[in-house]
């Protein structure tokens, strides 16, 4: 199927060279899908870990539930190899009563 670029409102059919370049870009984007997903997961995980970092201070006691929660966050990306696995991964629930 022919590809079209729109320049100032006018549809122009891409040249064969432009189509090849466009298809290569799309393939590169698809190839990076897992890396983007896992990066997104890790960034959200890191943010949640940071929000509970103060429990690790020496003058603050950490409950076992909080210890387990933080370990589950650290383990979250382990073993994930596909986009579908990343999308299906559930974040652990923060223990009630811990702010």
């Amino acid at each position: 199927m022919a590809l079209y670029k729109n320049v100032n409102g006018i549809n122009i059919q891409m040249t064969a060279e432009e189509e090849t370049a466009r298809q290569a870009e799309e393939q590169a984007w698809r190839d990076g899908a897992f890396d983007r997903k896992i990066a997104d997961l890790r960034q959200r995980r890191n943010s949640l870990l940071s929000a509970t970092d103060f429990y690790a201070l020496q003058d603050v006691s950490m409950t076992q539930d909080m210890t387990n929660y933080r370990q589950a966050l650290r383990d979250l990306p382990d073993g994930l190899t596909t986009v579908e696995e990343v999308e299906a991964k559930e974040f652990p629930t923060k223990p009630q009563g811990d702010n």
Binding site: L3, Y4, K5, N6, V7, N8, G9, N11, M14, A21, R22, E25, E26, W29, R30, R36, K37, A39, D40, Q43, R44, N46, S47, L48, E87
Partner: protein, 211 residues
């Protein structure tokens, strides 16, 4: 009291008026063609893409050192991101080290944010960090971007702006982007493209006058 109606179509000062001037009051009892007021937004172009692989607007130059770019009602053939690029008279720039950027994604499903950045070089500026806009009915992407000194040979062109979209899982999401073209080119065009497939929607560019 009788009401007198003035037919403005009869006003014609073509001997003294210049393009882009406006008819305005010059005193309590007089009017004439004058330069438009300061800070006016001047339409460069607007275009609507329909099932296209990219959308480009040309006509930017050094007349203005700030341009506003509105992207609205973008819909996609499949879940997709959006890439942003600049170009000059030689075409759209897509070299592997043409751009640097930092883009964030704020998603309703999380209190934290996701980000994507490139500090050495990239072939485009992505407008959705590690996320995609949904392609189902009623969902899509919009943005308001600001492009500074695009035609300046001293300072590299930079873009900053805000985006909103409906992400995977039907979540409303948004973000902030900052990007830089790593060379002081004579920018005359802006380009957007879906990262996969085709898209439909509008892009409009205005040049903003200082005075």
């Amino acid at each position: 009291m009788a009401i007198t109606t003035l037919n403005n179509r009869s006003i014609n000062r073509s001997d003294t008026a210049s393009a882009d001037q406006v008819w305005t009051a010059t005193s309590a009892t007089a009017s004439d063609f004058q330069a438009a007021g300061g800070g006016a937004w001047n339409l460069i172009n607007t275009a609507v893409a329909s099932s296209a692989s990219s959308l480009t607007i040309t006509g930017l130059d050094s007349t203005y050192d700030t341009y506003a770019i509105a992207i609205s009602s973008l819909t996609f053939s499949g879940n997709s991101g959006v890439s942003f690029r600049l170009g000059d008279s030689g075409g759209v720039d897509s070299g592997s080290s043409d751009y640097r950027y930092h883009v964030t994604a704020l998603d309703e499903s999380s209190g934290s944010y996701s980000a994507s950045n490139e500090s050495s070089g990239a072939a485009q500026i992505p407008l959705m960090a590690n996320q995609l806009s949904e392609s189902t009915a009623g969902m899509g992407f919009g943005a308001m971007l600001w492009l500074t000194q695009p035609g300046d040979s001293t300072v590299d062109a930079m873009v900053i702006g805000n985006m909103s979209w409906v992400a995977d899982g039907d979540d409303v999401a948004g973000g902030v982007v900052v990007g830089r073209r790593q060379a002081a080119i004579a920018t005359d065009r802006v380009y957007i493209a879906p990262t996969t497939g085709t898209f439909s929607g509008r892009m409009t560019v205005w040049g903003i006058a200082h005075a």
